[in-house]
């Protein structure tokens, strides 16, 4: 067999946005390659629905996946790869793509391109393009063995529109394996912040250390964000200091965002912060230091005190909203 296999992740039976994103891209690549798309689903989810997004076959691995278990996930994906025997395997570059995918790749003895932001067909094979060195460089990655595994940076591709069509569901029974139990869950703490709000936001207003306090953040950044329907984000310095939750942190170890508009207030522009937002379409920097590195990346820069500029800006935005 051949074709492109996509891991369609779901949460409690509802497919994640990333699942559709990967299927959309897979369909496009498969059309160029003249091959087919299939999906792998772990546990209970409405598999046939994926047909509308181009999956001809869905390999449904039947087992209890209600708790995240790396070893079990790797076994499940391995079983699906053996059944589908794909040329290419696409996995979202979120936790599963960083934690389980490379282990699967080692088991298969193949290679992986991590966190790709582009995929294209060249010489009959899929080639990935991806940021490296905190986004300072981009490079192509090619995989010479089968299946070629690519993990994709979330929100790199548009959501596809569904078409008519169902999918054939192939069930794979995953036998229990005691060795999965070598790691057990003690406690799970889910975050209060809906992370999707930030990673999928079209507009973001982010604040840094300069906000000085939780109150500063709540009275300057959040209302400014609200005035243009933007999500609020922060630097690590701000979240470490407790001005925001860590789930609002943007950067190399935080969220990677890609909005139309990114307003950075009191943010110096450290390389690790830039790694998370440098692809934003329009970047506005508000900083009282004219030499702050963020200005090198800003479309528009305001040299000034954010405590003075932000409320004025908010007033202008609100006036604009009123004017319709």
């Amino acid at each position: 067999m051949s074709g492109i296999l996509v891991l369609a992740e779901h949460e409690g039976g509802k497919f994640r946005k990333g699942a559709y994103e990967l299927l959309g891209k897979a369909k496009e690549l498969a059309a160029t390659l003249g091959t087919s798309v299939s999906a792998v689903v772990l546990g209970d989810a409405p598999c046939t629905e994926l047909g509308a997004f181009g999956a001809a076959k869905v390999y449904q691995v039947e087992a209890d996946f209600s708790q995240y278990n790396t070893l079990q996930i790797v076994r499940a994906l391995h079983a699906a790869v053996q059944a589908a025997d794909p040329d290419v395997l696409l996995i979202s570059g979120n936790y599963i793509g960083k934690d389980a995918a490379p282990r699967l790749v080692a088991r298969l003895g193949t290679g992986q391109g991590s966190d790709c932001t582009e995929l294209r067909v060249e010489g009959g094979a899929v080639v990935g393009r991806r940021p490296m060195y905190a986004g300072k460089l981009l490079a192509d990655v090619k995989i010479s063995k089968r299946p070629a595994v690519f993990t994709l940076r979330p929100n790199s591709f548009p959501q596809p529109t569904p078409a008519a069509g169902g999918a054939e569901v192939v069930k794979i029974a995953l036998a229990a394996d005691a060795s999965d139990g070598r790691v057990t869950l003690v406690e799970r703490i889910t975050s209060q912040v809906k992370t999707a709000n930030l990673t999928e936001a079209e507009r973001i207003v982010a604040g840094g250390r300069a906000l000085k306090s939780l109150e500063g953040f709540d009275t300057v950044i959040r209302p400014l964000a609200a005035s243009i329907g933007a999500a609020a984000g922060a630097t690590r310095a701000a979240s470490d200091a407790g001005y925001t939750s860590h789930d609002e942190q943007i950067g190399q170890t935080g969220k990677i965002v890609n909005p139309q508009l990114y307003i950075a207030a009191g943010i110096s522009g450290a390389i690790q912060h830039l790694a998370g937002m440098r692809t934003s379409k329009v970047i506005v920097a508000i900083n009282k230091d004219p030499d702050a590195p963020i200005f090198e990346f800003a479309t528009y820069g305001i040299v000034g005190d954010l405590f003075e500029v932000c409320p004025l800006l908010q007033k202008e935005f609100e006036a604009l909203a009123k004017a319709g």
Partner: protein, 258 residues
Amino acid sequence: MKVGVCIKSTPDADTRLKVAAGATGIETAGIKWVISDYEKGALEVGVSLKEKLGGECVLYSVGSGDTEKNLRDGLALGGDRAVMVDDAATKGTDALGIAKALAAAIKLDGLDIVLCGRQATDDENSQVPAMVAELLGWPHISFVGAFAIDGTDFVASRNMGGATEKVRGALPVVVTTEDTIATPRYVKLPEIMKAKSKKLEKKNLAALGLSAEAIAPAATFSAYSPPPSRPAGRKLAGDAAAQAKELVRLLREEAKVI
């Protein structure tokens, strides 16, 4: 407790990088090679575990950058000895090839814990540690922000994006660390002196039972380039009120994002 820490020698984060001729990598001249912050966190955890529980903290690195200097730096930060995989054939290998070399070296030493960074700051693959674990047949825990030993078990908190999970299991284990897991200690001059006489073993692939073919890469990189340059930005003029007004006009009429 025998703890291993895998260290990769990578360019300092603030380095301005240039693409080398042929675009298959970076210009390495003039680069300051460092232990990245992720691995520094891992090293601090490894050293403090060993200080608390006894045993040994061994550093591993597969040649890249200035590996020997960075291993010496790691020894000054509390590592007991170091193993350097030094073989020209590792140059063009991929994550799985690196993992094979590391796993082979680790196997020879019989460790209880292997600590790695969550990602190397150059390739940002987040691949090698999980591959090492697979090759050793150990479980692995990714993106760990807190780690402790409880009897013969480990307890780790992993950051999964949207949730944090505390998990437990029996040793051995491979762990990848967030840089926030521990604050690296300051290097003291006497430690730098001491590090010079600590054991740093160089091993080639044959000594690890591997060959160049065994680590031939499946993943190859090419066409390195800087990201598309951003159109030149501009700083606005006038007092704060005028700048705010002008910004809103530009966002609306020029950039068309509001």
